[in-house]
Each structure stands twice: as structure tokens, then as C-alpha cells.
């Protein structure tokens, strides 16, 4: 473990490019976990990941019920793709996942941002994607610090002990 002390991780730069509930949560758990350990954390949302930080969509994130081989019925049987196509099923499955997470004390997305920013973590939106989707600063959650370019992202990443993680 000598190495761990010689070269600790000082900063994580996490990029989230997807809007699936589980991908967004992967980014949030990692960012919050870093902040909890005293590691600087910045999360950069791009492309479909922008859903996680727009006021309109952030509370409505879903997990895919089609094309998701890891999804199973309660009890462990495979989840039939044809069932996943039916209206309302994806919303139902997503609601179930969210209630399951609440049970083990995983906060909803907006509250997670509160935890991360309260600890000094920073949330950014990708300028290119924001322009592509025709979004404006006011469309985003109050927790979004700024809309930045990829160049600015790398500037923020500067320093020894930084890790860049793509979700």
C-alpha cells in the first residue's frame, strides 16, 4: 500500500454521456464517493447525459427495458424484450428500481447533486451538446456550475493525481 500513499488520487473528472438511470447513477456514485473521501470531483455531462441535469428530465430518468440483457423479472427470470416494448413498462420498471435504491439510502438524482455540490463537487454541461440539443442555461438544474468546452474541461483536469473517467 506504500504506493497508494505516494500517489493518491487527488481529482476525478467524470464524463457522463448517457441518460440511462444506471449510467447516470454510476457517475453520481463515483463523484459523491470521491467528494466523501476528500477527492476533488467534477462531472461533465454531454450528449444524452444532459438529461440528468436538465430540470425537465432529471427526475424522469429511465432504465432501458429493451436491449438490456441484465434486466430480470422479480425472482430472476429473464425479462422478455417484447414485454419491455409495451407502453408504461419502462416507466414501471424504472420506478421500481428507484424505490429499491431509496430503500438502501441512495438518493434521487436531484438530491444526489445537492450532496455532491455541498461537498465541493462541481457539475458542468458540455457546450457542444448543449448547442446541438438547442438548450439554454436556464434549462439546467441550479447545481450546474457552467457550460464549458472540452478545452476548458481539460484545463480543469490539469494537475498531478487526476483521473478522467468516461461513463
Amino acid at each position: 500500500m506504500a504506493n497508494a500513499q505516494d500517489h493518491p488520487i487527488k481529482k476525478v473528472m467524470i464524463i457522463c454521456a448517457k441518460a440511462n438511470l444506471e449510467d447516470v447513477y454510476a457517475a453520481l456514485v463515483m463523484a459523491n464517493g470521491a467528494v466523501m473521501e476528500g477527492i476533488e470531483a467534477k462531472v461533465f455531462f454531454t450528449f444524452f447525459g444532459l438529461d440528468a441535469i436538465t430540470k425537465k428530465q432529471m427526475k424522469k430518468l429511465h432504465t432501458a427495458t429493451v436491449g438490456n440483457p441484465g434486466l430480470r423479472m422479480p425472482g430472476g427470470l429473464p425479462f422478455p424484450t417484447i414485454l419491455g416494448m409495451l407502453p408504461g413498462v419502462e416507466a414501471g420498471v424504472s420506478a421500481m428500481m428507484k424505490s429499491q435504491m431509496e430503500k438502501i439510502d441512495i438518493p434521487p438524482v436531484d438530491e444526489y447533486f445537492e450532496l455532491i455540490t455541498a461537498g465541493g463537487g462541481e457539475i458542468y454541461a458540455c457546450k457542444l451538446a448543449v448547442e446541438m440539443f438547442g438548450l439554454k442555461k436556464e434549462d439546467f438544474s441550479e447545481h450546474v456550475k457552467d457550460i464549458i468546452t472540452i478545452g476548458q474541461f481539460y484545463e480543469l483536469a490539469a494537475g498531478e493525481g487526476t483521473q478522467i473517467i468516461f461513463v
Partner: protein
């Protein structure tokens, strides 16, 4: 595991510096551990530490989220009291085990 002397009292600690027996804890020990963490304890710190001790010794698993919602201190205030890694630092100062939560 190792022995350490805090405030003139020998206590056993883990490799990470957490007390192995929360009953060995005293306020004086807390003040010295806090100094190692670079924290000068105030009444507010003690209120949070005693809250954490009480809940943990009752068997509850505390997270930064549950502490932030407890009414004792909000999340931001908790980070301000124990800068860097609040749950770890507060647990260490409170003489309880290293936290094992992911949230």
C-alpha cells in the same frame, strides 16, 4: 492493530487510526485525534460527534445523507465542520469504526 496514547490514556487503534473499542473514548481523546486531523473542536463539533456516537452505538449505519437530514447539521455544514472527508474524520474523532457506506 496498535496502541496509542491520547490524553495520557493508552487506547488500541486500527492501522487507519480508528479506536477499536468505542468505550475507551473520552472527550479529551477526541480533542487530540481532532488535532491530528487539523480540526479544533467546538461545541458544534461535539454536538455532531455525540449524535454520531449515539446513533452508531445503537446499531444505526450513518451516511453523509442521513446526517445531513438529521437536523443536527446540513450536508454543507458537515463538510465545513470536518473538511475533506467529513464522515471518516467525524467517525475517527467520535471513536467509532471507519464508515463503510458508499453514499
Amino acid at each position: 492493530m496498535a496502541e496509542k496514547v491520547y490524553a495520557g490514556k493508552a487506547v488500541s487503534v486500527t492501522d487507519d487510526g480508528y479506536l477499536t473499542d468505542p468505550n475507551q473514548w473520552t472527550k479529551e481523546i477526541a480533542i487530540e485525534i481532532a488535532k491530528e486531523e487539523g480540526i479544533e473542536l467546538t461545541d458544534k463539533h461535539f454536538a455532531v460527534i455525540e449524535f454520531i456516537r449515539e446513533k452508531t452505538l445503537k446499531g444505526e449505519v450513518l451516511t453523509i445523507r442521513t446526517i445531513g437530514k438529521s437536523g443536527m447539521v446540513d450536508t454543507k455544514g458537515f463538510y465545513e465542520l470536518f473538511p475533506g472527508a467529513p464522515l471518516k474524520k467525524a467517525s475517527r474523532i467520535a471513536g467509532i469504526a471507519k464508515p463503510s457506506s458508499c453514499v
